[in-house]
Amino acid sequence: MSTTVTEPVASPTAESPLRATARIPERIPGERPTAAIPFPRLLLVELRKMVDTRAGRWLLIGIGAVIAIALTIMFFNESGHHRFEEYLTATTMPQAILLPIVGILAVTAEWSQRTGLVTYTLEPRRSRVTWAKFIGAMIAGVAAIGLSLALAAIIHQAAITLRGYGGDWSLDNNTLLGASLFVLLGVAQGVGFGMLLRNTPAAIVLYFVLPTAWAIVGDLVSWLDGAASWLDMNRTMNALFVVESMTGEQWAQLGTSVAVWVALPVTLGIWMLHRAEVK
């Protein structure tokens, strides 16, 4: 009988050996800290985690690309004769579709990739980590809005310069507010779904299926259609595109749907995340 010796775990290249005798790590000079980790440091870590993996980086690059593509399409549509505001509005929808995934991933990666084992031992006050993720995802959302403003300005200027368009730089604060709310509420919803499900595919699927489900069920069951105008965020948020003409009822509808699909998942999610076992 022949004996073959194989490595227990295949590694692509030979590993560097450990030194023969172990050194004891040097002490870090000074006293050990008695203060909690400052919040900005947690936020910095969460922002960094969004870009330090290929998946995260490409998601963000993809969002930038989608914004650019939407603007390019606008540029070739009707000879690019669109007001600056119209260019801006065209970027809102693609952002709103992709940015919530940033929020979802920020939360679910800790569980799907099991990095929570390290994260939550370094900061056992899990709600602080959660808020860092929440604010981090919001910062990503604001950055995307900023990028779309800049790109919309460039394309609009290009239309003026290259296409002989007169141009219209007017930007209603309400439009900006409506578009920003549209995007950021989506991000918040993503974070909430992520916390509730703590599982990447499940959270993403639910996030995308929910609006379609509303549309289908609303069509089939008439009384649910009435409920949908209060609960289907896709519908209630559409009013934000014409935020200046939003009625009190529309605001109430938006508020209700946000309470159900954003505030509730976030609150419940934080509560559950605190009790969850990190494995």
Binding site: V9, A22, T121
Partner: protein, 299 residues
């Protein structure tokens, strides 16, 4: 310093950790020994604040883990070396921890060097790491914050023999400098070689605990002779308890010298005489392991 007091963790009808109490003292390496599924990892996760206990308490450095300020600078934890984002590089994983703990980034290089990960290896994504490399990265991560206490779950898993010896030296040196070390293993030999104190756990309960010397020596004497029955009778006259060993010979609850003297006095020829050494601990451990293995087959 780790204090565990009447700690219990239940999952429905299953009791993973059953009313365990122990103390891990500074300057010592404490081995947490038990077969797979005995409750070691659950107990360690509770100590690190990741799993809520059903009842009882676990404190590290006098506080519940969740109340330690910036715990990474006080307690180094390695619970599962594979629990890392496969898409991050080794260096990035340490850098994230360093930012969180607020330690100098130079410390990342020092730790990578300490565990022998080259710059090239540290720049590779963790998905391309062997278990041994992940384990080394995990140890680097645990040591990053210069902690007083180390909690390591199966740290030798996946390390080669040289790595296991390196780990032993490291933990020994660490404890000698006054550090508190708790490490778990399902291998008796591994624990035996590094631990000062041993806690044996099986089915969620502590079945033995004490200093290594006490656990290994308390096993009496094993003796074999040309006339075991005669020797047993002679020993019984001396008020020493004797039981026949399954493999022949006798287990005697006395020092080897006492047994030798009795044998000499009664003229019995000895074939073998030695202290029971780790026999008791090993027997107990094998029994535990066998029971667990049987349950796994049945399940």
């Amino acid at each position: 310093m780790i204090h565990v007091d009447r700690l219990t963790k239940r999952y429905g009808p299953f009791t993973a950790v059953d009313d365990i109490s122990f103390e891990v003292r500074p300057g010592q390496v404490t081995g947490f020994l038990g077969p797979n599924g005995a409750g070691k990892s659950t107990a360690m996760r509770i100590m690190a604040g990741l799993t809520p206990a059903t009842s009882g308490t676990a404190t590290v450095l006098g506080r519940a883990y969740g109340h330690l300020p910036n715990p990474g600078r006080h307690v180094g934890v390695l619970l599962d070396a594979s629990a890392q984002h496969a898409g991050r590089t080794g260096r990035e994983i340490l850098s994230l921890s360093a930012i969180m703990m607020g330690v100098d980034r130079r410390r990342v290089d020092e730790m990578l060097d300490l565990v022998g990960l080259t710059d090239k290896e540290a720049a590779r994504r963790v998905r391309n790491y062997s278990l041994g490399m992940r384990q080394r990265l995990g140890i680097a991560n645990a040591l990053l914050g210069d902690p007083e206490v180390l909690i390591l779950d199966e740290p030798a898993n996946g390390l080669d023999p040289a790595g296991i010896r390196w780990m032993r030296d490291l933990l020994r040196g660490y404890a000698n400098q006054g550090g508190t070390v708790l490490l778990s293993s399902h291998l008796l030999n591994e624990i035996e070689r590094v631990a000062d104190e041993i806690i044996v756990i099986g089915h969620g309960r502590i079945v033995a605990q004490g200093t290594k010397d006490a656990l290994l020596s308390g096993a009496g004497t094993y003796v074999r002779s040309t006339d075991d029955a005669g020797l047993a009778a002679a020993l019984a006259l001396e008020d020493v308890s004797v039981s026949p060993a399954a493999t022949g010979g006798l287990h005697v609850d006395a020092e080897p010298m006492t047994v030798g003297q009795v044998a000499a006095a009664s003229g019995v020829v000895l074939v073998e005489l030695r202290s029971g050494d780790s026999r008791g601990l090993e027997d107990m451990f094998l029994e535990l392991t066998a029971a667990t293995a049987r349950e796994e087959v049945a399940a």
